[in-house]
Symmetry: C2
Subunit: 95 residues, 2 copies
């Protein structure tokens, strides 16, 4: 199993509600994918401009397929417009 | 429930094995704590200098107690010496 932490910082003039609204469709579509164990949007308790997707995937192949889906290709550019920066890390547990 | 992402970057001359060895005691002790749902060390697939603790806590009170434990106060300074930087985010799922 692998985990993804995709941490986004919103532009100063962007409303969180708008970012959340668009993310909801991405979450709903992604949860239907094969190999997706969990996928959810989180808010940072101490910084209201930070929204992070915390994801669990069965393996790297499932994640690669996810990145090629129609919903990712359509929705990611919409979310990117609202973000100042984005940082994605892919993790495997240390045995 | 809250989630914590504590992302550390090792100094260039530090061996990952040393960082992992010290972290193992912290993981073992923390998992015994009340309110700790999960706590584990992860390695970044694309950057061998990044090690991140991914944590789940029942609530903020449990996390605050965790930060005051003997094992945190003793082991965190040891790990800090091996790190170039550390970034901690605390998250709540967007409803």
């Amino acid at each position: 199993m692998i985990k993804v932490v995709a941490k986004g910082k919103l532009k100063p003039d962007v409303k969180a509600e708008e970012y959340i609204r668009i993310s909801r469709e991405l979450v709903a579509e992604t949860r239907k994918e094969e190999g997706c164990i969990s996928y959810a949007l989180f808010e940072e308790l101490n910084d209201p401009s930070i929204f992070t997707m915390l994801e669990e995937w069965e393996n790297e192949e499932a994640l690669e397929k996810h990145n090629q889906t129609e919903h990712m290709k359509r929705i990611i550019p919409e979310l990117s417009k609202l973000r100042e920066s984005m940082e994605v890390n892919i993790y495997r547990e240390v045995e």
